[in-house]
Symmetry: C3
């Protein structure tokens, strides 16, 4: 089960990834599931994996764009907190989703994290060239 | 933790938002997380925030479209239940997501809501011009 | 509440649906919510409902594509496990979501399933021509 469900807001002008990291630090969350995020952002940058091991392309979206959904996790790698989030952004003209690199909150970002009672961990995987879940 | 996980179906021909509201009313849910919705809809209307404070544009999609995902919350504002859902719709030709204004269920909508043991609340925010989470 | 939250990885080269089914079989999961999946895939096939009862079109996407999100459920129909997942795939050029028919994991698929303490069931519905939730 989720030992605790956290619902919090990252506020206008704040960078979304940093806002989530800050909340996790303040509340000592090291293991959890990002159940969802909705809201809106500007100046988003998403990463898209194109080749293995680990080659990404980045794309930038000035927005404003709705945050339609987000999913991911909070884990530890070598004792460091790793927050890994995929996010879907859409306006009436464009819809794209990928690995959240950065984004500035426009109106709000309502984040839901379910904390786990056991530790999620990541390790550097040679085949993918990425930090993969041990799970 | 989620004190209770509700899984229910909104049926063909019913309006999706009203169907969710009706279920929450019947089951006295005033605080929760919309964990997911999948299914299909017709005649959907989505809102996209374009300017602050609170300017939206609406777009209509006749469909049928798959409900690929949805996320959101159930909260109270001034004692009234507010259900806030962002939804992603897709066909083979089009993919758009935004604030769910209305949609008619086509085949089904399978809704999952995780009820919270504490009260989520919203308030009218001057900066965004929207009802924001107190969280 | 979710009696147990499972977080597991389907690995490169494996078929995603089969990987989820295999995990559920190994862990005797017959009732649950697919809370999320992120990662990346190649050679994905999605189904889109076009007409009732039960007419689908399929589309194939060679990818690689990010798995941006996924939602669904694990239920029983006539004693058989039915895993029903809608998934959203995106590259920098294309974004589509629908019913997951099949997909080959590219780098990883990080799957989160919340197990339920009561049994979700499906039945063959005459109107939709599909296996609908009893919920």
């Amino acid at each position: 089960m989720f030992t605790k469900v956290h619902v919090f807001r990252v506020k206008p002008g704040q960078e979304l990834s940093s806002g989530i990291a800050h909340y996790c630090q303040q509340h000592s969350i090291t293991s959890g599931v990002v159940i969802g995020i909705i809201g809106s952002v500007r100046n988003a940058r998403l990463n898209f994996l194109t080749e293995l091991p680990g080659k990404y392309v980045s794309q930038e979206y000035p927005g404003p764009l709705e945050i339609v959904s987000a999913q991911g996790s909070v884990a530890l790698k070598d004792g460091e907190r790793v927050i890994h989030v995929h996010i879907l952004l859409s306006s009436g003209q464009l819809c794209r989703g990928g690995h959240l690199a950065e984004a500035t909150v426009f109106s709000t970002a309502e984040v839901v994290i379910g904390e786990l009672g056991w530790q999620l961990r990541r390790y550097a995987d040679e085949y993918t060239g990425l930090n993969e879940l041990e799970a």
